[in-house]
Symmetry: C2
Subunit: 675 residues, 2 copies
């Protein structure tokens, strides 16, 4: 009789070995962190004596689940912002919050919270990709789980590095420190083809080869990404990363939703692993990965939850069930991805996908003891059909829950017994997480409170405050033509002039500042030429975002007003993005044709705009006279000059308009008939 540490005895032992052997009732023998024997319970009990025998009857004993793609610290962002379009979610919420909060302590805490959740739902090994990966590795090792930890590298500044050179240096240092750890496999993680440069990819790949470590990369998660790759580099993601050496190391390609047959065959030839993320792909509406077909091609596919922020949990039971369901729905074949294969993907095939199958993924003598015990004796899993031992796969995949996991062990160390965590303090982690959430809420509340702050938070746009004195006049076409003639006369030195079509969208906020954002699509038809322009001739389109308030700063004689714009910059995202990001209380459209004259009058620069408003359709035309200003005194002087100019144009007091185009669009009844 051999004396060993532990025997898990009496359960249905699903080995997930090459023959999918099941011992029921079976037993697993663990000694020194290793699986020493697996077999029928009576044979095992006849050969071994253990310090601890765990009664597993009525339960399944199986390999710990492997979450093959996640971003563990994002557990702290669970439920932060959902049901949003990818760019709004990422650029409006995730990135600003990450820029502000992601530091090593955030990553450490988020990792430990994630580990607590993963242990409680049966995961003992995961592949991570995030920032400050050394903190993640440390938090994981202390929690006693196994992980492939991938230090993220971006061509942009990241929360943990100002440049990719710095990231690469960090990564090399991280790999050297952790490469021989019992539980942690360091990894290099160039984030995605579209966030990398060729040089970045080549250096990352060389690093992975040098240390023989896995390389993780997101590939073809969305079709937009694929389209953009084709446009910018002239090829699809897989040939492009292949060209830059990315398929040479032990590579793990995450998502792979939008790949051509050729690309799949390339991955197959390079023995590249794939990770399928069914929940994330649905929740972010990325599309349906052709998993059943990939499996037919013999690719190694792991299953991953992706980060909590796009899931919103780390429950691998939910994930593997969804993988099985979704494959059937997508292929319209209910025999696609049967239960056993789903479980295989979450265990031994997942281990293979992470290049860890010599260590884990199945219960076989010589492998490390990563084991979970799942209660099958529950109402939601009752009754148990047993005429065919394979029916247990269907039970585990289609009806078991994460909460049915009663014990979990990694590398021979107990992580949980009877659902009590042994390596982590759940209450303390939750309290600390709640504290982080409170601070993030406060940061976002402050931002949400002010449209300006929200504008500044998405970054990339320079803040610029400007003041203008201005007046607006509504007149008949006849009068306007006279003004145009006057402007061409000797009193005015005309500088640059242009014709434009301006499509303005106003977002109105019922906040205390009565904030307004104007998104302008400014089609410049022609510059320095006032001749009529053909319909389709557009020289340039300028997109601008301007933040103003409804209230004016000051009003002078002749309805001349001083207006302030609190923000004015080029807009580099779509109207749709801004609409969903700012979520305005009202939205209005004003389209107009503008002739713009730069005028010098009495040694002062003015803009004179002659506008025809086509949406809403307003007869007649408008004349606007404007000038930038920098001081109250300057503003007052310019207000007087504008009064003079109006006299020159023959404009009477009655023609003056207080309303902006926006109010005319909202309340056209306020408009007097054109004189």
């Amino acid at each position: 009789m051999e004396t060993v540490d532990t025997i898990l005895a009496g359960g249905a032992v699903l080995t997930m070995d090459a023959g999918f052997t099941i011992f029921d009732p079976g037993a697993v023998v663990v000694h020194d962190g290793e699986i020493v024997a697996v077999g029928p319970v009576d044979e095992i009990e006849a050969s071994f004596v253990a310090a601890e025998v765990v009664d597993c009857s009525g339960k399944a004993v199986m390999p710990g689940l492997i979450n093959a793609h996640t971003h563990v610290p994002m557990s702290l962002l669970r439920g932060l912002a959902d049901d949003l379009r990818l760019d709004v979610w990422l650029m409006g919420y995730m990135m600003p919050v990450e820029r502000e909060f992601v530091r090593p302590d955030f990553c450490w805490l988020g990792t430990q919270l994630a580990c607590a959740e993963m242990i409680r739902s049966g995961t003992t090994c995961f592949a991570d990709m995030y920032y400050h990966e050394e903190a993640i590795a440390d938090a994981t090792a202390r929690a006693g789980l196994r992980a492939v930890c991938g230090q993220t590298i971006l061509k942009f500044p990241a929360p943990d590095a100002q440049s990719y050179d710095e990231s690469l240096a960090r990564t090399r240092d991280f790999v050297q420190r952790w490469k021989d750890h019992r539980l942690i496999v360091p990894s290099v993680a160039p984030h995605a083809p579209y966030t990398a440069t060729p040089d970045l990819l080549r250096t990352a790949s060389a690093l992975a080869l040098e240390f023989d470590i896995p390389l993780q990369i997101h590939v073809a998660e969305t079709d937009t990404e694929v389209d953009e790759m084709r446009e910018t580099v002239g090829m699809s993601p897989v040939p492009w990363i292949k060209q830059h050496g990315v398929l040479d190391p032990k590579t793990i390609a995450m998502h792979c939703v939008h790949l051509s047959e050729d690309e799949l065959l390339t991955l197959q030839r390079h023995n590249t692993s794939i990770v399928h993320n069914p929940t994330s792909n649905l929740k972010l509406a990325s599309g349906f990965a052709p998993v059943a077909h990939m499996l037919e091609l013999g690719l190694n596919i792991g299953i991953g939850t992706d980060g909590v922020a796009s899931n919103n949990d780390l429950d691998m039971f939910e994930e593997l069930r969804l993988a099985a369901f979704l494959a059937k729905g997508v292929t319209l074949d209910p025999t696609a991805l049967p239960a056993r294969q789903a479980l295989e993907m979450a265990t031994i095939m997942g281990a293979r996908a992470l290049y860890l199958d010599s260590l884990i993924g199945s219960l076989e003598p010589g492998k490390r003891a990563d084991v979970i015990v799942v209660d099958l004796d529950t109402v939601h899993n009752s009754p148990n059909f047993r005429r065919d031992e394979e029916l247990i796969y269907s039970q585990l995949v289609y009806a078991s829950k994460g909460a049915d996991v009663v014990h979990a062990m990694c590398d021979g160390g107990w992580l949980m017994r009877e659902r009590e965590l042994l390596t982590l303090d759940r209450q303390s982690l939750m309290a600390q997480a709640q504290d982080v959430a409170r601070r993030i809420d406060a940061f976002l509340v402050e931002r949400e409170e002010s449209v300006l702050r929200k504008l500044v938070t998405i970054g990339g746009l320079a803040r610029k405050e400007t003041y203008e004195v201005q007046v607006k006049v509504h007149m008949s076409e006849e009068v306007v033509r006279r003004i145009e003639e006057t402007l061409a006369g000797p009193d005015f030195a005309i500088g640059k002039s242009s014709q434009r079509r301006q499509y303005d969208t106003y977002f109105i906020f019922h906040d205390k500042w009565a904030s307004r954002i104007r998104y302008r699509e400014d089609e410049v038809l022609v510059r320095d030429n006032m001749e009529p322009v053909p319909e389709d001739q557009v020289e340039e389109v300028i997109y601008r975002l301007t933040l103003t308030n409804e209230t004016k700063e000051r009003e002078y004689a002749n309805s001349v007003v001083l207006s302030r714009s609190r923000f004015d910059a080029l807009a580099n995202r779509s109207l749709r993005f801004y609409r969903e990001y700012f979520d305005p209380d009202e939205e209005w459209q004003v389209h107009k044709e503008r002739r713009r004259f730069h005028v010098r009058y009495s040694n002062t620069e003015f803009s004179v705009n002659i506008d025809r408003v086509v949406r809403p359709s307003i007869p007649g035309a408008f004349v606007e006279v404007k000038s930038r200003t920098w001081s109250a005194q300057d503003a007052e002087r310019k207000a007087v000059l504008i009064g003079d100019l109006l006299e020159h144009f023959g404009v009477g007091e009655d023609d003056l308009l207080r309303e902006e185009y926006l109010s005319l669009a909202a309340h056209p009844e306020q408009l007097e008939p054109v004189t």
Copy 2:
């Protein structure tokens, strides 16, 4: 201060009222089974004193979930057979087992087991459709849940009725007994358009109108069903059921996966409810219901788990989450079916879909007290963002689990406290369920053991045992032509003759009988005419299924053998069905062209087949002589006559073949060169 029964105090109260009011911290006051007040906890506590105050802090207090379509007794068939094609699953497993086991006690037990599972995952009301519905209603009422109980009506014999007239009579009786029950709403449930006659539909509809009760029907679950409706009745399901009055009562249409825009608009005009079953539709590969679009049309859509056998559980948290995820994936729009709307579908909209919204579905004074309390203070739901109160919907939908439900109340009665069931004995139900599973396993094991029994179980085919004496000869074309001439000579009275193309598929089983099933597609080209036939002229196709064994019963002189076929009947399902249902160990194909002569020789009937085997391609031709036989003596006499006949044909001992075509297909090397 008013004295009341119960106050649920201090949680985040999600009323799901018209304005989606949330009170956090709030309180719900229950008295006499009714919700008396809902509001901020301090206001409530200032106005009411309760016999029992339940502290709900850190938890969500919300309406009990409504499972709008299920077949509760099928909880006893959980995991019985999965990953199969619909017809194999239904006709190969569900229906044979239901025919054998579904009796009132089965339904009663299955309902109570299902109720236990539903309570533990937050469901307090469901809509059922099954057999022996009075047992289901009784079991539900005793468990204290609310249900719409639909007695199923089929045009075929059902487990509880020999005809639909009997079903309708049962239903009327059932409705009369239960129509005023506090918890049960009886309902009439014609199963589906394709399992109903016009008369059945009209009578069911009249019954629903007479008692003002809901009518439940499956509609357009699969595209096959829709295609077949179009073929057989010349229209799609909705116009057809409308024509027969089905949309006149309070109708609930389940699934609605494959409906045209016109059909959706018809349902909208009739205010017909829809139930969406995302898991079942994926698992059975039925397709994707256009839920986001239906919601835009303003249809009332509930969410249902469908029966356990196609899910495999009754967890509404999983179901509403999947509904939200799937809608995003299908529309490629991550803003589709946001969290609050998913929860709405599982509560107030679900109540509206079941025509129960005046009673339940929201927490509002005057409604019945169907309430659940969900723990939000868990690792998998940590942290909680609270800058916007609506974020709680996202928490509940994307991260909460059924197991987070701590308390459940229906009609003011406690069903569960601190996850302990109060109206049901969980252990006893599970033990009884296990006993049923054991009996079903035994029934299926017996069937699986013998291919013959498996054949008989799917029914519809008559069992027929036959014996034949027969001999087979392999010869050159020249010799065969001589035999054909001989058969046309004076010694033989030729009866009916024919030319055929026979496509035979053999399923080989490595069982103790060495069973073989031959599926024959027998194209009869022409009868009573031995002239060559044009390629495409097929008079009739006969599909036959024949069960034989490898071993012969007896062998006579001249290789004449006595063979037995244990089963021979017309095949009314596809080759694909039989392949998946029987799951043979080997499969072989033999295609041949056959000329078949009915011959009278020495006052005895023989068949002479002249066969050319084209797959596998075998040169020369085969002559088979056969005769049915009924006794050993008769067989012996016929064996001698066959010897005489062979002499007539000039066939030598060397030409005789022991092998069947099947063994030639498997081992063509056994064939001697043609003499």
